[in-house]
C-alpha cells in the first residue's frame, strides 16, 4: 500500500518499534528501582520491600503513584521555565540513546523484513556520544534554576565530572572503532557474531568504558553530585513530586542504556555463541538473540548495583585525579597499542 508515495507500513512499524523501546526502557527502569532495593537488602542481609504485592513487586507502582500525587513546589525565587526544563531535558536525553541500539536481528512478518533497530545511522556511536554530552544540561539547568547554593554546587560538580570522564570514554571508543572500522552499532554486532566478542580484543578499553559509564550515570562510587551528607541531597534538592521522580528515573534509564551499550559493543549484543549452528527458524533466532541481549543487560545492571553497595564514595579531588591522571593516560596507551597492532596486521 503506497499512498502519497509514503510507505505507511514503514512509518507504522517504526512508531510501534519506538513505543516498544520506550515502554521497555521505562519498565526496566521502574523495576530497577525495585531491583536495587532488593539487591541492597540482600547485600546488607535485610529483607527489602515486601509489603506491596508478592515479593514487593508492586512497590515501583506505589512509589510512582505517590510521586504523582505529591504537592508540586516551585521555589519563589527560581526561574520557573528553566526549573521545569531541567528534568524534561534529563528525561528526554535519557530516552534518546536507545534509538540506535540494535535490539535484535531482523524479524520477517507477512513478507516484510522488520529490523529490530529504530535507526541504523552510520554515525551510531557518535550519535550516542552527542546525546550524552547534551545530557549534562538537564542537571546544570535544574541545579542553577533552583536558586540554591547546594544545588548549584552539585550541578557544577556534575558538569566537571561528566566532561572529565567523557574524554577517556571517547578515547576508549576510538580504540574500538579502529578495531572494527565502523561507526554503526549494527555492523559492530554483526562482526562479533562471526568472531570473538570485542571484550577479548579490548579488555582495557572495556574496563575504561565501564568505569567512565559509572561516572557518566552519576552512580556510586562516582555519585558526588548527589552526595547527601555534604550537599543535603544534590542538584534535585529543591525538586518535589514527579519532577524529582523524573530526575531519579532518568538515572535508572541511563543505567539501562549504558548497560545495553556495553553489552552491544563489547559483549556481542544480540549475538550469542553457537547462534548460527542452532538450526531454528530466523524469527525464533531473532527472539532468542533479543533474550540473550536482555540477559546481558540485566547482568550489567546487577553489576551497577553490586558496586554501589560495595565500594565507598570517592572524595572529589580523588575523582578528578583518577579521571585525568589515570583514566586518560590509560585510554591513550590503549589507543596507541590498538592502532599499532591494527597497522601491523594490515601489512
Amino acid at each position: 500500500m503506497t499512498l502519497l508515495s509514503i510507505d505507511w507500513f514503514f512509518i507504522l512499524e517504526k512508531i510501534l518499534l519506538i513505543s516498544a523501546v520506550l515502554v521497555l526502557s521505562l519498565v526496566v527502569a521502574m523495576y530497577s528501582t525495585w531491583g536495587e532495593r532488593k539487591v541492597a537488602a540482600w547485600i546488607q542481609d535485610r529483607l527489602g520491600p515486601n509489603r506491596a504485592g508478592p515479593m514487593g513487586l508492586l512497590q515501583p507502582l506505589a512509589d510512582g503513584g505517590k510521586l504523582f500525587f505529591k504537592e508540586e513546589i516551585i521555589p519563589t525565587n527560581s526561574n520557573r521555565f528553566l526549573f521545569i526544563l531541567g528534568p524534561s531535558i534529563a528525561m528526554l536525553v535519557a530516552c534518546m540513546t536507545s534509538a540506535v541500539i540494535p535490539w535484535g536481528d531482523t524479524l520477517t512478518i507477512a513478507g516484510r523484513t522488520v529490523s529490530l533497530q529504530v535507526a541504523d545511522v552510520n554515525i551510531g556511536i557518535l550519535f550516542i556520544f552527542g546525546v550524552l554530552s547534551v545530557g549534562v544540561y538537564g542537571i546544570m539547568i535544574g541545579g542553577w534554576a533552583s536558586n540554591n547554593k547546594y544545588s548549584l554546587l552539585a550541578s557544577v560538580r556534575a558538569a566537571s565530572q561528566i566532561i572529565s570522564y567523557e574524554l577517556p570514554m571517547g578515547l576508549a571508543l576510538i580504540a574500538l572503532l579502529m578495531l572494527t572500522g565502523t561507526l554503526s552499532l549494527k555492523e559492530i554486532v554483526e562482526q562479533q557474531r562471526h568472531d570473538y566478542w570485542n571484550v577479548v580484543y579490548q579488555p582495557l578499553g572495556f574496563f575504561i568504558f565501564l568505569v567512565t559509564a559509572f561516572a557518566e550515570t552519576n552512580r556510586a562510587p562516582f555519585d558526588l553530585p548527589e552526595a547527601e551528607n555534604e550537599l543535603n541531597g544534590g542538584y534535585h534538592l529543591e525538586y518535589s513530586s514527579m519532577k524529582l521522580g523524573f530526575y531519579l528515573f532518568a538515572e535508572y534509564i541511563n543505567m539501562f542504556v549504558s548497560s545495553a551499550l556495553m553489552a552491544t559493543m563489547y559483549f556481542g549484543g544480540y549475538a550469542f555463541p553457537g547462534m548460527d549452528s542452532l538450526g531454528v527458524s530466523p524469527n525464533l533466532l531473532t527472539i532468542l538473540g533479543f533474550l540473550a541481549l536482555f540477559v546481558k543487560i540485566l547482568v550489567f545492571i546487577f553489576f551497577f548495583m553490586w558496586v554501589r553497595w560495595t565500594v565507598p564514595r570517592f572524595r572529589y579531588d580523588q575523582l578528578m585525579r583518577l579521571g585525568w591522571r589515570v583514566m586518560i593516560p590509560l585510554a591513550l596507551a590503549n589507543m596507541l597499542i590498538t592502532g599499532a597492532i591494527v597497522l601491523f596486521r594490515q601489512h
Binding site: N122, Y137, M140, I141, W144, V156, A159, I163
Partner: protein, 156 residues
Amino acid sequence: MVLSVIALVSALGVVLSKNPVTSVLCLIVTFFTIAGHYIMLNAQFLAVVHIIVYAGAIMVLFLYVMMLMNLNAELEPQKRNWLKYAGAISGGALLVVLVAALRDASMPAIGTEANEIGLIKNLGQMLFTQYVVPFEVSSILFLSAMVGAVVIGKKD
C-alpha cells in the same frame, strides 16, 4: 525553513537578552539548529561533531562560568559612553565589510540530492589525502593553544 527561523530568533536572543544565562541557553539552541542544517545538507558527521564539541563541551564551560559568577543586570558595571560609541562604530564597520564581501561572492545553492561528501568515510579520505597538510597544521595550532593554556594555568 523552520530551522532557519528558530536559528535567527535564538541568535537574536543571544544578543538581546539581559540575563547572561538566558543568552548562553539561546546560543545552545542556535548551535542545535545549525547542526540541523548540517544534517539537511547530508553532513551527518559534521552535525554530530558540532553538537559534541560546541553544544556538549564548550557551551557547558560557558554555562559553568556564568552560573558560578551569577551575573545579573544590577551588578553589571556602568559602561562609559565612549565605549558604547566605539562598539557601535566597530560593529557597523564589520557589517559593511561583511556586506561588501558577500555581495561579490557567488554562492551556488547546494543541491539536496545525493551529496555524499559529508559522510564520514568520504570526509576522512578527503582529509587524509587531499587536505592532509592543512589538517596537520591546524592540529599544531590546537597543540600550541593547549601549551599556552598550561603555561597560563601554571603561573599562579
